[in-house]
């Protein structure tokens, strides 16, 4: 998955998601288009939102992991 994500990050062209290549295509054929989201963030702000989401998700994941899987030496301290 890391390799696949590296391909995505380094490739010069666009890699449309299936929402764009499949869902929106069928929606357009049916005369519907996606409306803007509630908080219409885009560009660098969206990048920042993904960064914050990744940080929070990763922090929660790591913290809960440490709570559930303490090392033997540390389990006494907890």
């Amino acid at each position: 998955m890391i390799a696949a994500t590296a391909v995505l990050a380094l490739s010069p062209g666009r890699w449309p998601g299936v929402d764009e290549s499949v869902v929106e295509k069928f929606a357009r054929d049916a005369g519907r288009t996606a409306s803007p989201p509630l908080f219409g963030i885009e560009g660098d702000l969206l990048l920042f939102a993904f960064l914050c989401a990744g940080l929070l998700g990763g922090f929660l994941l790591g913290y809960c992991f440490r709570t559930l899987f303490p090392k033997r030496g540390e389990s006494d301290a907890s």
Partner: protein
């Protein structure tokens, strides 16, 4: 006094190490999640007609309410339950934010993680963790939508979770190893999620054509991307379950059953 001081120092060192590792995991996930121009699959705001979006919401609310009540009951019975659910919720959130490219096709999509959640927590809790992930993405990441949240919850949380759980249970009953059963659960949940999305699009947007015709067309359009991604999701689920089975096997039996059958404090030791 010296003993107390040393214990205090040990605790401080433990907390500091825990925090540092959690920060490292967070930064790793954040870098990994950096979006390029590619996003993924949830039905966006406005894709479904309002009637269909409302119908999926109405159908999702009782399932979500039942699952939330179960979360509350289980949390009272076990001190480990909430951290475990939180960890799985974070995993589902991170996985379902992660665009994975399929180079042969030139598109990308994301794993769902609800098959793994259903294996570890049961299908009801897979609904709760999927709802949390979908709500956060719809509110703050312009990914999915609030009006289509009910439909997305049905495809990813309910059908995906139940299909993954059924695959896990069926294979375990026939004596399959845990990683193999988890692989099947991941694959089944991913493919079932996208089959349900295809059905939702067909029901809401079939127009002059028959529902079956549109369903087949959408499903076939999903196949080149989702076929390999489903296998990837199966492999991820198998790795996660194999890790848990080696590191703390008690967790695999405790929380996927309807109610706790042993004292989880003992199992945590």
């Amino acid at each position: 006094m010296p003993v107390r001081k040393r214990r205090g120092a040990d605790l401080a060192r433990f907390d500091q190490k825990t925090l540092l590792r959690a920060y490292a995991a967070a930064i790793g996930v954040a870098v990994f999640l950096q979006p390029s121009s590619a996003f993924a699959m949830h039905l966006a705001e406005g894709i479904l007609p309002l009637g269909w979006a409302g119908a999926w919401w109405v159908a999702a609310i009782p399932v979500l309410g039942t699952a939330a009540a179960r979360l509350s009951r289980r949390s009272e019975a076990s001190p480990l339950y909430k951290p475990f659910v939180a960890m799985i919720a974070a995993t589902v959130f991170v996985l379902s934010c992660m665009p994975v490219p399929v180079p042969i096709v030139g598109t990308c999509s994301h794993p769902c993680g609800t098959g793994l959640a259903a294996v570890l927590l049961g299908p009801a809790m897979a609904v709760v963790v999927a709802f949390v992930a979908l709500l956060l993405q719809a509110l703050f990441l312009a990914h999915g939508g609030l009006s289509t949240l009910g439909a997305d919850l049905w495809s990813m949380g309910i059908v995906g979770g139940v299909c993954g759980w059924l695959a896990w249970k069926a294979l375990r009953r026939f004596g399959a190893s845990m990683p193999l059963a988890a692989f099947a659960a991941g694959v089944a949940s991913d493919w079932a999620t996208y089959a349900t999305t295809a059905l939702q699009i067909a029901l809401g947007l079939h127009g002059e054509r028959s529902v079956g015709q549109v369903f087949r067309a959408v499903l076939i359009a999903f196949v080149p991307t989702q076929l390999p991604l489903g296998l990837l999701e199966g492999a991820l689920s198998a790795c996660a379950v194999a890790f848990l089975a080696r590191r703390k096997p008690a967790l695999l039996d405790l929380f996927a059953t309807p109610m706790p059958v042993v004292d989880t404090r003992e199992a945590a030791q």
